[in-house]
Subunit: 376 residues, 2 copies
């Protein structure tokens, strides 16, 4: 066991929480909801995608063939009863749509909670990850040694001010580790294994969040990121939707609005990795037409533990405050809220998994009810 | 446009089906079921996983940290009413659990259909793919140039007689293409774009299946494949389950039984990539204790189009016949069926997506009702 790990386990023991591997989620540990869930429809499909031709070596399967790349996986639940506005939930860096399903401590996530509140709810996997896959032709070319020299510096984030990781060797894959990438960076506490007194994240189940952390191949995703057009197309297909992004995808609602805002009834950014500071006045004018909510949690100045160049969540909040000021100056409707502004303490970066995740969802849904544009 | 692609498009036109990109699935194209679906519980969780320490360079995130590897994503739906035996569905090579959800032509897949028939139904993503992620530390090491020289020949399949692909350069990733990997290999017709007269796969929606095809990093998965122990553990957690594998995972039910058969009430292999011929008599004795169904479709001798070394599905069927004979000789209960034995024509390799997928599910569920072992 490494010294770091030993220290972390000791810290965990001191903090009175078990080390991650001791808490294994099972089917039996997942709470049965009080009321059955009745769905008019549910399922999954893909949005977008383009054909690409690949050689046998590039495909790795012994025969040249055509594959589809840049498609986006979507799963959905549509409750019975009069449908409210659809909501599309987008996960952050190093994660998948699983972020929004059953929480690490076994409660219903926002996917199910929002559906139970009457909203047809859509969860995606970003292009470059999970069930959306990634362009492995590019990856295999790198492994074959072609194109490696011509490879530009990797940038794992589609949005400046995002997670800011270096993107891995030759830009292949990156992933958040459990002690710094998650514990300190996601503000569970001041150092690995030590939780804030008022921490809302269920830290005893941090090992379950660690399992949700999967390799992120955003560095292989072309620019502009096809996820943005796919999201715009999905919102149009749904005849209008609220688009909610988180962390690395926190600014995706805005970026998507700049691709095509016609399907977007409201933009919600939950703890965005950054609000882009460089929008033109024309872009701001477009963005000001769609009501926007930006929501942050608690303990924003906490040291991320991600190295001397990493920015704090307070820095990110400040950047979003500057963005909100520009939108307001352009006559737009925008709210920038910290949960602490509402008297709620201890929320982490993973608000959709915090113990009070239902309450946070209620804040968002209440704002949506009051502010989302009507169709057309 | 390449000559191959032009030929395929011409063939598609001749066959009276549109080229793949013309059929884009949307939310609106997905059929609403006649009856709402009422669930006692639903959600997702991970089974298994181990901690691994990685350097900053290996992680690609600027700080050394601990990550979890080899965990298995599981999603489930548990219907209301008296619960029948749980069923666990495992996807094949180059695919994810999405195989079992909404079909390419917009009908409910086996995930929902089996839940509607009263079975708590569990769908997994194999370790090495999709929401289970993969060990990108190994991948990043290869990209960094370390360990590349020591790299053994890649084998993308956990089970001999599986898909038989070469596994990509340095064993990184492989993926099925749409024309050969899917069309001919999955027996939609004798050549790309040309469907069998009686074909059951909804070939007009082949582009949607192409989107489900994602990079397969099975070559990074250690041996023994952690998916097997994870499946065994899941079956025990469920107090007994039917385990169903398909294609590359077709023999996973048997392999899982050899890890721990105590949770397995029945083994179902749908078009297994191969039945392992090399089991010892002791292993056969263990396997003979669990009722087994092996199911194949139609047009088995079709040329796979995957090159001169590829084996036909008839070869694979024959291998399973030899396996079934050994199980029977050991006193086991096993059925090896071709859908054509039941007078059903035209089923492809993707029986869970064929137009008659409900009917095929009924055949399996009827066999389960009649044969699955009772608990304990």
């Amino acid at each position: 066991m490494s010294r770091t790990l030993t220290a972390a386990v000791t810290a965990l023991a001191l903090a009175g929480v078990a080390a991650a591997p001791a808490i294994a989620q099972t089917r039996k540990s997942i709470q049965a909801p009080a009321k059955p869930l009745t769905l008019k429809a549910r399922g999954s499909f893909y949005v977008g995608g383009e054909s690409a031709e690949a050689t046998a070596a590039e495909l790795g399967i012994g025969v040249a063939d055509r594959v589809t790349i840049n498609q986006m996986y979507v799963e959905f639940m549509e409750p019975v009863g009069r449908a409210k506005l659809p909501i599309i939930l987008v996960h952050g860096a190093g994660l998948s749509g699983k972020s929004y399903d059953t929480t690490p401590d076994g409660r219903a996530g926002w996917f199910e909670y929002m559906a139970r509140q009457g909203h047809p709810t859509y969860v995606i996997d970003q292009v470059g990850r999970a069930r959306s896959g990634f362009n492995h032709i590019t990856l295999n070319r790198r492994l074959l040694g072609e194109a490696a020299a011509a490879q530009p510096a990797a940038n794992p984030t589609a949005v400046p001010g995002g997670v800011g990781g270096p993107g891995g060797p030759r830009g292949a894959a990156f992933r958040f580790g459990e002690q710094y990438g998650v514990w300190t960076n996601f503000r569970f506490g001041p150092k690995p294994g030590e939780a804030f007194q008022d921490e809302q994240f269920p830290v005893e189940a941090v090992g379950e969040l660690a399992k949700q952390s999967i390799p992120d191949l955003s560095s292989l995703v072309p620019q502009p990121n096809p996820t943005l057009k796919n999201l715009a197309d999905l919102a149009v297909d749904l005849d209008g939707a609220v688009l909610l992004g988180h962390s690395q995808s926190g600014a995706f609602p805005m970026e998507t609005a700049l691709v095509n805002a016609s399907g977007l009834r409201a933009l919600v950014a939950v703890e965005p990795g950054g609000c882009r500071p460089s929008y033109t006045d024309a872009q701001i004018a477009t963005l000001a037409k769609v009501p926007t909510l930006i929501l942050f949690g608690d303990h924003l100045p906490n040291d991320t533990g991600m190295g001397p160049n990493s920015v704090t969540w307070q820095n990110r909040y400040d950047g979003c405050a500057a963005y909100a000021a520009r939108i307001k100056a352009a006559g737009g409707k925008i709210e920038l809220i910290k949960t602490t502004d509402l008297g709620i303490r201890g929320n982490s970066h993973m608000l959709m998994q915090d113990r009070n995740s239902d309450r946070i969802a209620d804040i968002i849904l209440k704002w949506v009810d009051a502010n989302a544009r009507k169709a057309g």
